[in-house]
Symmetry: C2
Subunit: 350 residues, 2 copies
C-alpha cells in the first residue's frame, strides 16, 4: 500500500464503498476484501426503472464523470434518473494496486479483466441496490469496453447502451498504443518492477507516459488549430505540462498498469470463443455507438464495424478536434453533442 492523496475523498468524493469480499477473477486467483467505490446521484423511482450506470475510463474516477456528464438539465439528470457511477478496479478508488493490502508491488496485484469489473458491478447493482434493469449504461473509452461487456453479458438487464469512443473488441493497433504507455512507465528504472516507494519516484516514466498521450490522445488538428487556447492555456508546452503531465503524474503507476493490462485485452468475443459477431448479436439493448471523429486510436471506422453487428444500433459520430481526450469534457460543444444523443437514446422506447 502506498499513500497517495490524489485518490482521497477530498479530491474524488463523496464516494461510497461496497465490499465484495474475496472476489474471484477470470485469470484465476482472487482479490481478498475487494472494494468497489461508487457515487450516486438522484433517487431511484418506485418501479426501479430510472437507474443509469456510468462507468470510468483509464485513469478516470467517478468525479470527472460527475463533473463532465452529470447534472441538472443535462442528459444524465439526477432530477430524473438514479445515476450510479462505479469506479473500475485499479482506478485508485476501488481496490487497486496502490491501496490494497495484498499489494506491495505490481506483480502482487492480480490481473483483472473487463469482465471482472462488470461481474463486480453487477453484484453491486443487483445485491446492494436490488436493481433488475438499467435504463442506460454509458460512458467512454474503457467505460465503453465495460458498456459492451454489460450489454453482452447481461442483455436482459441493459435496456439502452451508449458506447462512446471505445470498442467491444480491442484492436491490435490499440494494443500496441497501450503497450507504448506501459513501456513508458516500466522502463523507468525507478519503477523498480513495481516496488517504488512513492508514485513520485516514477515521475520521469509518468511524464513520458503523458508525452505519448500528447501524441495519440488529441489530434493533429488540435495542435494545428491551437485548440489548447480554448482550455485557457498559452502554449503547447503549457498544455503538455499543466494539463497532461499534471494529470498523470498524480496517479499511481501500478494503478495505471493494472488498467492498461485490462484495456489491452477488452474483448466481448471471450464469451463466444472468439466470434465477435456472435457476441455482439447477444446485445438486445438499444445501442448508440458514438466514436469521436478525430480519435486516433478508436477511430469511427473501427467502431462502425462493430455497430453493424449489433441488432438495434445506430452510429452517432461526435465531432471534436480534441480527439479521444474530448471525453474530458473541456468543450461545451462536445458535451452538447453527447447530451443530445443520450437524450434521444433515453427517449427511445425499449
Amino acid at each position: 500500500m502506498r499513500d497517495n492523496p490524489y485518490y482521497s475523498q477530498a479530491n474524488h468524493g463523496p464516494f461510497e464503498t461496497y465490499r465484495l469480499g474475496s472476489f474471484s477473477l477470470e485469470e484465476g486467483g482472487s482479490i481478498p476484501d475487494c472494494d468497489l467505490a461508487y457515487a450516486t446521484f438522484g433517487q431511484l423511482n418506485k418501479s426501479k426503472s430510472n437507474a443509469i450506470l456510468v462507468l470510468t475510463w483509464y485513469g478516470g474516477t467517478s468525479k470527472i464523470m460527475e463533473q463532465a456528464y452529470i447534472g441538472q438539465g443535462r442528459a444524465l439528470d439526477p432530477e430524473k434518473y438514479f445515476i450510479i457511477c462505479v469506479n473500475q478496479i485499479g482506478n485508485g478508488l476501488s481496490s487497486s494496486p496502490h491501496n490494497h493490502p495484498c499489494s506491495s508491488a505490481d506483480s502482487d496485484f492480480p490481473k483483472v479483466r473487463i469482465g471482472d469489473d462488470v461481474v463486480a458491478q453487477h453484484r453491486l447493482l443487483t445485491q446492494h441496490f436490488e436493481l433488475e434493469n438499467l435504463a442506460l449504461v454509458v460512458v467512454g473509452s474503457m467505460g465503453a469496453q465495460q458498456t459492451y461487456e454489460w450489454a453482452v453479458r447481461y442483455p436482459e438487464m441493459v435496456k439502452r447502451a451508449a458506447a462512446i469512443a471505445g470498442t467491444a473488441q480491442n484492436t491490435d493497433h490499440d494494443f500496441l498504443f497501450t503497450a507504448s504507455l506501459v513501456d513508458a512507465i516500466t522502463s523507468d528504472p525507478k519503477w523498480r518492477d513495481g516496488k517504488y516507494e512513492s508514485h513520485l519516484d516514477v515521475v520521469a516514466g509518468l511524464k513520458r507516459h503523458a508525452g505519448i498521450w500528447a501524441v495519440m490522445g488529441l489530434s493533429t488538428e488540435f495542435y494545428q488549430t491551437q485548440a489548447w487556447r480554448d482550455m485557457g492555456l498559452d502554449s503547447v508546452e503549457q498544455f503538455q505540462t499543466e494539463f497532461l503531465e499534471a494529470t498523470f503524474t498524480e496517479m499511481d503507476p501500478n494503478n495505471l498498469l493494472c488498467m492498461a493490462w485490462k484495456w489491452q485485452r477488452g474483448d466481448v468475443a471471450r464469451h463466444t470463443a472468439g466470434d465477435l459477431a456472435g457476441a455482439l448479436a447477444r446485445i438486445s439493448a438499444k445501442t448508440f455507438v458514438m466514436p469521436i471523429d478525430e480519435d486516433m486510436f478508436f477511430p469511427p471506422r473501427d467502431c462502425v464495424r462493430e455497430q453493424e453487428l449489433i441488432n438495434d444500433s445506430e452510429i452517432r459520430v461526435l465531432n471534436s478536434v480534441c480527439g479521444h481526450v474530448a471525453l474530458f469534457g473541456t468543450e461545451p460543444q462536445f458535451l452538447s453533442q453527447v447530451d443530445e444523443n443520450l437524450r434521444e437514446l433515453l427517449e427511445c422506447d425499449v
Copy 2:
C-alpha cells in the same frame, strides 16, 4: 566513433564520399572533415539538364531509395536521368555521431539543421558535379523537409519538386511525436547520455522507439486489415519484431537522435522571420505535394495548407493503409502511384 557494420558499403553501397572540409552550421560551430555520402545512377547529359536529386528520410540511406524508387522503367529511370542520392548528415553514411572522430557521445556531435544539409548538398552538386539546375528534387518525410528547403533556398536551381509525406514547417504534433521517439532512446539508462559503448547496449530503448513507430508509423487500418500479411509476415508480433525492431535496432542511437533533432525543427520560414507564406512564395519549382492518406503525423490536411501557399503546385494524395511507412515501398500499388505522379511531374514544361 563506434563500429557498426550496418552502415557499411556491403550493406548500403556502393556509395561515394565527398569531403566538404570544415563545415559551418546554422546553430554555430562546425563539423570538421565533414563528409557527404552519395550514390549516383545513370549519366549526366551534355546539357546537364537531366539531374535528379533524391534525399533521405529519418533512418534511411541511399540504399533504400535506390531499392524502392530508382530503376529501369521506373519514374526515376537511370536510362533517362542522372540521379544523385545524397545521404543526410547523421544518417550513418554521411558524417554522423557514430562515425565521426569528433564524436564520442551525443553531446559531442554538433546540432545540425535541415538547412545545413541542403547547403552541404548544394556544394556537392554545384562544386563537384558543376550542376546549374535540377530537373527534380524528391523523396519523402525528412527528404520532403529537405526538398522544401531546396525549393525555398535555391529556387532558381530547382525546376520541379515532389514533397512526399512531409511538411515545409514541422507541426507541433509532429514535434511531440518525435519527442516521444527521442524519449524512448534517451530514457534507456544504457544510453548513458550518449556515451554507450555499442548501439546494442541501447537495444531496449531502440525497441521502445520501434514500438512507438508501430503505433504512429502505420495506420489503424493497417492493423485492422492485417496488411502485414502482404509483407509475408504471419502475425502482428512478427511484424513488430522482424520488421520494425529489426530495422531500428541495427541503427546507432545517437545517429537517430541527431536526425530527430533536425526533423523536429524543419522550417522553411526560418528564411522569412517566421512567415511561412512568404517562404513558400519563393518557390518557383513546379511542385507536387504528395501526402499519404493514412499518414498519422503528416496528414494530408497539414500538407494541403502548405500546398495552397505554393504558386505552381498541385496536391496529389497517395493511398496506402501502411500510412507513413508506405514510403518503405513494400506495396507495388503504392510505388505505382508515386511513379505515375513523378512521371507526370517530370513531363511538365518548366
